[in-house]
């Protein structure tokens, strides 16, 4: 068989491409400008494919339930969590987090859960979006 892939190639010509053109159909020449436009409502982002159920995204922290036991700090593999001794609560730096959800597993009061949000890229590792407290 010399052209065994040809049938597939032909079928492909009439199919919609698999690629989801996220975030824009063509790469914007100026990304910062593009994001600014999106912020002002002048341009639109093609949405990403939604993650599966149970995806490990940005951590959600229920501060009220936290008892300050620091177990999450002990088992976090990335040292992403900091203890705030004054109010006995924690602060998670997502720029260090590897989204393993180990802290969720050890927490005795189940105050940590994994959210679905995953578009977390930021130029500043200490930006407000990347700190959970």
């Amino acid at each position: 068989m010399r052209f065994s892939m040809l049938p597939s190639v032909f079928v492909q010509m009439f199919k919609k491409p698999w690629t989801n053109k996220f975030p824009a159909k063509y790469a914007p020449s100026n990304t910062t400008q593009f994001l600014k436009d999106v912020g002002e409502g002048k341009a639109e982002i093609i949405p990403p494919i939604p993650p599966e159920k149970g995806f490990r995204g940005k951590i959600k922290y229920d501060k009220e339930k936290c008892i300050g036991c620091q177990l999450c700090i002990k088992y976090c593999p990335c040292e992403a969590i900091e203890f705030k001794p004054k109010d006995k609560k924690i602060k998670i730096y997502l720029s260090r987090c590897c989204f393993c959800s180990q802290c969720n597993d050890v927490c005795p009061t189940n105050c940590l859960t994994m959210g679905e949000e995953f578009l977390l890229a930021d130029a500043d590792p200490y930006s407000k979006d990347l700190i959970v407290e």
Binding site: V9, K53, G54, R56, L71, P77
Partner: protein, 411 residues
């Protein structure tokens, strides 16, 4: 390299430490006569990251995630072997259901890895339509991984004494549907690889590794099995649920009746293993017993148990590329490992490159090197020194050479 080493009949090319067909730095020195490779020398040790040392400052739970980062494609195998070592050292019993779930993950990873490899191999010989076709299948495999573990690459599914996520009955239809998809497409893939003239031309009788050499050089995994050596940890040792399952050590002989040990056989070998993995997953899903998925859900309690242990353990697991071995030792004073040693399969599969490459042509380097599925990281450049004039081959040029050879053969 000294001036005297260059003679009129042969010349040397150093390849690496960074090179397109290799995904991690390794250094080759080829001695060539025209296009033909006369001798090869391999040097390792360009990516020492201090991972083993870093483990001494972490507790075993944290080391799991460190182990995961040894390799992106084997991000299940390394934590698995590490867990087996820890369980071996601390005598931790694993619930039966967790053993089955562990097999599902291991086999899913094998499917991902082998299909990825099939695409890369096709790309190396310039058959890019197949590359896209395989990656379409792999995308499904990755989606399924995400569905089962919560992430596509770094799965974070292994834990000491069990596994972190269960497969619930409502997940089964999706898994079965995807398995059917793999089976359907597997047939297509098999047809392309085994019957296509292009693939045959470039892979038959190329890069031969004889059975004797495979045994002598301790090759592991598909590389050694393709040479007819029946070596597979899944059948050689009873771990996870493999003892209960219908797993057999396969060689290309099962399909073609002969073993040549060439690149073509390594392709057949991996395809057969994909089929075997699909069957194993289906079998696991059907036979999985009910019960717990971890032996000790309270991690601090588990750590206290490990802290008291003084001893060592070895974990062996059949990764997609072959046997991976982890050794771990605890000193009884802290829960952090006292030592941790990792032996990844590619380490054994490097030396077989020497007999494989001898006598081949430069254009065969990418496909022969890739045929062992080396797990290394890559960048862009090859420097050629010829008659003391130095010029460089970029990744694109080397790839072009390979594609041109395919074209030449097709004429």
């Amino acid at each position: 390299m000294s001036e005297e080493a260059i003679t009129k009949t042969s010349y040397h090319i150093p390849v690496g430490p960074i090179h397109p067909a290799l995904k991690e730095p390794v250094y080759f020195e080829f001695e060539l006569s025209g296009e033909k490779i006369i001798d090869v020398n391999v040097k390792l040790g360009h990516v020492h990251r201090g991972v083993e040392w870093a483990s001494r400052k972490r507790n075993p739970i944290q080391v799991l995630y460190l182990a995961e980062r040894i390799c992106g494609i084997c991000s299940y195998c390394h934590p698995a072997a590490f867990t087996l070592a820890v369980e071996n050292a601390c005598d931790i019993e694993v619930p039966e259901r967790a053993d089955y779930l562990r097999v599902v993950q291991a086999e899913l990873e094998r499917i991902c890895s082998h299909i990825l490899w099939a695409g890369v191999a096709a790309h190396e010989i310039g058959f890019d339509t197949v590359l896209y076709f395989t990656w379409q299948i792999r995308e499904k495999a990755l989606d399924l991984t995400e569905f089962l573990t919560g992430n596509r690459v770094t799965k974070g599914i292994m834990t000491i004494g069990g596994i972190r996520r269960d497969i619930t009955p409502d997940m089964l239809p999706r898994i079965k549907r995807d398995m059917q998809f793999f089976k359907d497409n597997f047939e297509k893939l098999r047809h392309i690889f085994l019957d296509d003239k292009t693939v045959k031309m470039r892979s038959q009788n190329a890069g031969i590794l004889t059975k004797d050499d495979a045994i002598k050089l301790c090759a592991v995994g598909p590389t050694t099995r393709a040479s007819g050596v029946k070596k597979d940890v899944r059948t050689g040792e009873s771990y996870f649920a493999y003892g209960d399952l219908d797993v057999k050590c396969i060689t290309p002989k099962d399909l073609t009746g002969t073993v040549n040990g060439d690149v073509y056989d390594r392709i057949i070998q991996r395809l057969l293993e994909v089929k075997q993995s699909i069957e194993l997953i289906e079998q696991c899903i059907d036979e999985m017993p009910a019960g717990d998925i971890v032996s000790e859900p309270k991690i601090p309690k588990l750590m206290n148990q490990i802290k008291k242990i003084e001893g060592e353990g070895v974990g062996r697991h059949e990764a997609p590329r072959g046997e991976v071995i982890h050794y771990v030792k605890f000193d009884g004073k802290s829960e952090n490992p006292y030592t941790w040693k990792v032996r990844a399969p590619t380490y054994n599969n490097i030396l077989p490159w020497i007999p494989m490459l001898k006598g081949e042509q430069i254009a065969d380097i990418p496909i022969v090197a890739a045929s062992t599925d080396p797990c290394m990281s890559c960048t862009n450049r090859v420097a050629i020194v010829k008659d003391s004039k130095r010029y460089e081959l970029t990744k694109e040029q080397l790839h072009k050479l390979s594609v041109e050879k395919t074209r030449r053969l097709m004429k």
